[in-house]
């Protein structure tokens, strides 16, 4: 009996160890297989040329990824610039100012927003944001814009990542001990002074972590952005130009035209780029968070 129990325990342990190793190997497998799939094009062209050339003519064997890389960054950057202030202000409001009933109203709202699938944000974007930009906003700055622009992608993406940011930040703010805010208030600080000098300061690392998570979601978001950003291969010179982010490139072309030489490899290279961006981002954020915590150890 005792032996059986011990044997069961041991078996379970080995199975679990196997799964744990599998998880790490799975990550490696994704990275390596993307890399090897991308290897032909890296070998043939030069990595530097691939990354910095803007010349994208797959039929002539020219693969410059710069337009796609820049598009991805621009769209994500606009999204985070719009989303960050909104999310920080709203989460502070919910945490420190709002009454219970307002909080109760917002909880399902944030849930709702984060539950809506990307495709629906895309639908909403094409219906409202794109015409708004084409007819109202862009006309004030440029002569003509279709509305399918960097800005449209950024706005739709911002609306998508706001709920993610809010739900994490509300958690971050909530985890600040009440004694700490009480200490500040009892010294006669106003609420806003307490928010500015104590709460925000205490939450720096949490806010950074949330931002990183939202940014990596933004980099990889495919369908919603694809539907509103125009998908024209060019380096966008203003936010009213159309753009073509990496995920959209893959989604639009993968599975077709794979007979073209190096084309599949080129698309795999873009997937590999996204993968690397996510890994770098995670590593970098972990490193900075560690530094912050070590320096201030709050």
């Amino acid at each position: 009996m005792r032996r059986l129990r011990a044997a069961k325990d041991k078996t379970a342990r080995y199975i679990m160890l196997g799964i744990a190793i599998f998880t790490i190997l799975f990550l490696l497998a994704i990275g390596l297989s993307l890399f090897f799939k991308a290897l032909p094009i890296i070998r043939e062209k030069n990595l530097w040329v691939l990354l910095t050339s803007a010349d994208w003519k797959p039929f002539k064997g020219k693969f410059g990824f710069l337009p796609f890389i820049l598009s991805t960054f621009y769209v994500s950057l606009i999204a985070i610039i719009i989303a960050l202030p909104f999310s920080i202000l709203t989460s502070i409001y919910l945490n420190s100012y709002a009454s219970k009933s307002v909080k109760r109203l917002f909880e399902p709202v944030v849930d709702l927003l984060s539950g809506i699938p990307p495709i629906i944000y895309g639908v909403w974007g094409t219906l409202t944001i794109v015409p708004l930009i084409a007819n109202k906003i862009a006309t004030k700055f440029v002569e003509y814009s279709t509305g399918y622009t960097v800005l449209a992608g950024g706005v739709v993406l911002a609306v998508m990542i706001i709920p993610l940011l809010i739900s994490i930040m509300v958690e971050v703010f909530r985890s600040i001990p009440k004694e700490m805010t009480d200490a500040s208030l009892s010294m006669g600080a106003t609420k806003w002074q307490t928010v500015k000098r104590v709460i925000l300061r205490k939450s720096v690392s949490g806010i950074i972590a949330a931002t990183v998570l939202a940014l990596s979601r933004a980099f990889g978001e495919t369908m919603a952005v694809l539907m509103v950003c125009g998908n024209i291969t060019q380096i966008p010179h203003s936010i009213f130009d159309a753009c073509y982010p990496l995920p959209a490139l893959i989604a639009n072309n993968y599975g077709e035209m794979l007979s073209m030489p190096n084309y599949e490899s080129a698309l795999m290279f873009s997937a590999f780029l996204l993968f690397i961006i996510v890994v770098l981002f995670n590593g970098l954020s972990r490193f900075t968070l560690n530094q912050i915590e070590r320096r201030y150890q709050f």
Partner: protein, 279 residues
């Protein structure tokens, strides 16, 4: 002076919150306004008819069933892998071991990998294995996407569990395996939350199934037949030049939103209900 600053920022904060609230209402209203007139019983009970994409009659039952098949299959796989893994890093490995932080770091990265990359990887894998776009392919790829989501949220909930229960069980002479079986009962509500979160993400994602599940107007009868999914169905209908079909896309969007809303509300309901009788 400092009260003025306080007031200004309070106004700004309320504005920010109101705008976010407004945008949500706007999104929902837009979709419902366009979609509701086309949302008929046929939409959810019939397969697409011959000229469905040209505005003739039919429904999106194929996509509803396909999405459900895929999510159920991928859930089964990811539960089978997530639960043992989370138990292992929390109860078998020492609290601050390098191995467990390595696993958690991998999970963070897996969590951050975009769904399109999973889609591309899944497709490449399928070509390598000689499988064509099918229900099986969709299930496997969606499983890759939702596994890290499930593992991470379940891990976070498990970490909150106090050490008293495990210690008490071990001191009774239970083996770790027996201990974990008891703890799992305690963690059930957490697992439910994690599962529902994963469903919400998995069922709405189009990029993973774009290449791997294929598309069909029929309900797949076996694992190696292609399967339609709701997000793709919306995408294709939206691409049609016929306005009637476009409106149906919004109706399908309503169906998808409602499915997800039901799931996310029940997640909240379950987690709040179960947390009451948790230790």
């Amino acid at each position: 002076m400092k009260h003025l600053e306080e007031k200004i920022f309070k106004v700004i904060m309320i504005c920010a919150a109101m705008i976010i609230l407004g945008v949500l209402v706007y999104i929902i209203a837009t979709v419902f306004y366009r979609g509701l007139p086309s949302l008929t019983l046929d939409m959810i009970t019939k397969l697409p008819g011959g000229g469905f994409y040209l505005g003739k009659e039919g429904g999106v039952l194929n996509a509803i069933v396909g999405s459900l098949y895929i999510i159920i299959g991928s859930l089964a796989i990811s539960i089978l892998i997530s639960v043992p893994l989370v138990m292992y890093i929390n109860f078998y490995l020492p609290a601050k071991s390098i191995f467990s932080s390595l696993i958690r770091f991998s999970l963070d990265i897996l969590f951050g990998i975009p769904s399109i990359v999973y889609g591309a990887f899944g497709f490449a894998l399928m070509i390598f294995l000689g499988v064509r776009a099918s229900l099986l392919g969709g299930i496997l790829t969606v499983a890759m996407l939702i596994m890290p989501i499930m593992m991470r949220s379940f891990d976070e909930i498990t970490r909150l569990l106090s050490h008293e229960l495990p210690d008490a069980l071990l001191s009774l002479g239970a083996t770790k395996y027996e201990m974990v079986k008891v703890i799992m009962k305690q963690l059930m509500p957490g697992l439910v939350t994690a599962i529902l979160l994963a469903i919400g993400r998995g069922i709405g994602d189009a990029a993973t199934v774009l290449f791997t599940a294929g598309y069909t107007d029929n309900i797949p009868a076996s694992l190696n037949q292609p399967a339609a999914t709701l997000p793709l169905s919306i995408f294709f209908q939206l691409g049609s030049p016929v306005e009637e079909v476009q409106n149906r896309a919004y109706a399908s969007a309503i169906i998808l939103t409602v499915i997800i809303l039901i799931l996310s509300f029940s997640a909240r309901y379950f987690s709040s209900r179960f947390s009451k009788n948790k230790i």
